[in-house]
Amino acid sequence: MTASSTDRIEKRIEIDATPARVWRALTDHREFGEWFRVKLESPFVPGRHTRGRITYPGYEHLTMDVLVQKMEVERLFSFHWHPYAVDPKVDYSKETPTLVEFVLRPSGTGTLLVVTESGFDAIPAARRDEAFRMNSGGWVEQIRNIEKHVANA
């Protein structure tokens, strides 16, 4: 279920339910809140913010704020957010958000859901190819290389 490289996290999961059902679980803000553990105040609308209190035990003092990007029915749902915005004293709005994408595909009688969260390295997309060529793959890999190097030293 896990595949991580460069600056992105990618998850794939087979769900034994129709794309229509999965779409509702993702984009109905109350259903989203149920599995994501957040009490969202308003429905998701492209180009708009949706906010809410996290209900995950131990994180109830935190607010989630997503800016919806795309909603292509039963195919693609994406939003921007600050994944490590966990300190209530800090204003994260000026920092570069990451992009979360949910891609749905029919798979047999069920749905294959691919979730990616990208942008951790905050390199603008236009520069990314070049940067990756130079680094042979983003900073996550680079960190591992440096750590390995240091561990062996």
């Binding site: 279920m1 999961i13 034994d16 999965v22 679980a25 300190d87 800090v90 969260e117 390295d121």
Partner: protein
């Protein structure tokens, strides 16, 4: 939680020049600005600026030796950044298991 540190670390790492500097610093006990400038197309001033960003993110530390300042990698900061990414990854795993359960109910 070191979330604020992590976001600063992520930002510091989002630059190929700084990644190369880090890799270079990982090779020794400490490097001077002069030695980092040698063999680089960057000016001393540019390298000093990048080192400042890395230092503020806690990724490197500088110490004085005579008239020089030597910079060295702080592996713990890299480790924290990687762990915070691992945390985010794990949180997704858990959330998607709950999503699956909800949709299949």
């Amino acid at each position: 939680m070191a979330a604020r540190d992590s976001s600063r670390v992520f930002a510091a790492l989002g630059d190929p020049t700084r990644l190369r500097l880090l890799a270079k610093l990982g090779e020794g006990n400490g490097s001077s600005i002069a030695s980092l400038t040698a063999g680089s197309k960057l000016t001393r001033q540019a390298i000093t600026k990048h080192l400042g960003v890395l230092r503020k993110a806690g990724l490197i530390r500088g110490r004085r030796r005579g008239r020089e300042r030597l910079f060295a990698l702080q592996p713990a900061a890299l480790d924290r950044a990687r762990r915070s990414l691992d945390d985010i990854s794990r949180q997704w795993d858990e959330a998607l298991v709950r999503l699956k359960a909800l949709a299949e109910r």
